[in-house]
Symmetry: C2
Subunit: 182 residues, 2 copies
């Protein structure tokens, strides 16, 4: 990268440097959801077309971007801004759970989707959030774990096969033409 | 491989050749479940310790081996012996569905787990089997599709994220200490 920069005109490098400064100065967490944004609240929180009854809780803004790019969620997000990982000495930011509770108190959410990552740290984060939500009168759900689409049983690891078997879905016969997994 | 064989003693190659012939002659599909076996019925069908109320239906004996190695299923299996894939000109063997129905009629199964592969061919196979099971008084379930364990939201493809979001599980709060996905 350094060699590449040395081959560019000086003005180009100056523009890049300025862009980096602007990026760092203008992007900050959205005061509502914690997503990275240059305007507050962020474009997702301000979007009048998004439904405001489902809140998808993610660990980081990166997870939000992945979910958003795949277009799977039409509701709002909430970025915790960290994860629970005692082995790495990581924990949620001190006010993360209070921020979430405050947001739920202010909004008209009917469902919270806990979209933590499918690994140990994600599980710990999930339980930490679940703990504070348990007594709230709100529906709580979690992303499904199982076989990734396009994969095969032969290539799935043992833990994923366990999850896929444990979380197998009963097929409603009256509705069996429509597979709930699809 | 050919060069490797040429470096071995002749007796070794003769033994290998004999082993291949024996393998091909002695292994055949189990008359009950379709698993590959040298004794009929196969060791899984004969095992008195396996529960006989859950039947896991797979496409091929390879899938059975993968599931069996991961130890996720304590019941019996049924190998269809093929898959529905019109683009490849593949279909289930002519008697595959009748064999399955006959097996269900003879056994005391309470649940059929459809463990087809998480791809288009697996979906088509799933629907073909579902079609003949629909009117039977038996519980039907399907392996869960979703995020593979140990992965991350950021690396999941769009279709898998869709499946994980669609099939998200509602958390029962009374039982929320125990996550059904785990």
């Amino acid at each position: 990268m350094a060699l590449f920069l040395l081959l560019q005109p000086q003005s180009w490098t100056r523009e890049l440097a300025q862009a980096l400064i602007t990026l760092r100065e203008s992007l900050h967490p959205c005061s509502e959801c914690g997503n990275l944004t240059d305007i507050d609240p962020c474009s997702i929180c301000r979007d009048p077309l998004r439904e405001r009854e489902t809140l998808c809780v993610v660990e980081t803004a990166e997870d939000l971007i992945s979910l958003e790019q795949s277009g799977v969620h039409g509701g709002l997000y909430h970025v915790l801004g960290g994860r629970v990982s005692p082995l790495d000495g990581e924990d949620l930011p001190p006010d993360a759970l209070n921020r979430l509770l405050r947001r739920l108190g202010e909004g008209s959410f009917k469902e919270v989707i806990l979209a933590t990552n499918p690994r140990v740290e994600g599980d710990l984060t999930y339980y930490a959030v679940l703990e504070v939500l348990r007594d709230r009168p709100i529906r709580i759900s979690r992303l499904a774990y199982g076989l990734p689409i396009g994969g095969s049983i032969g290539f799935a690891d043992r833990v994923t096969l366990h999850a896929a078997m444990e979380a197998r879905r009963e097929i409603q016969k009256s509705d069996s033409k429509r597979d709930p997994n699809q």
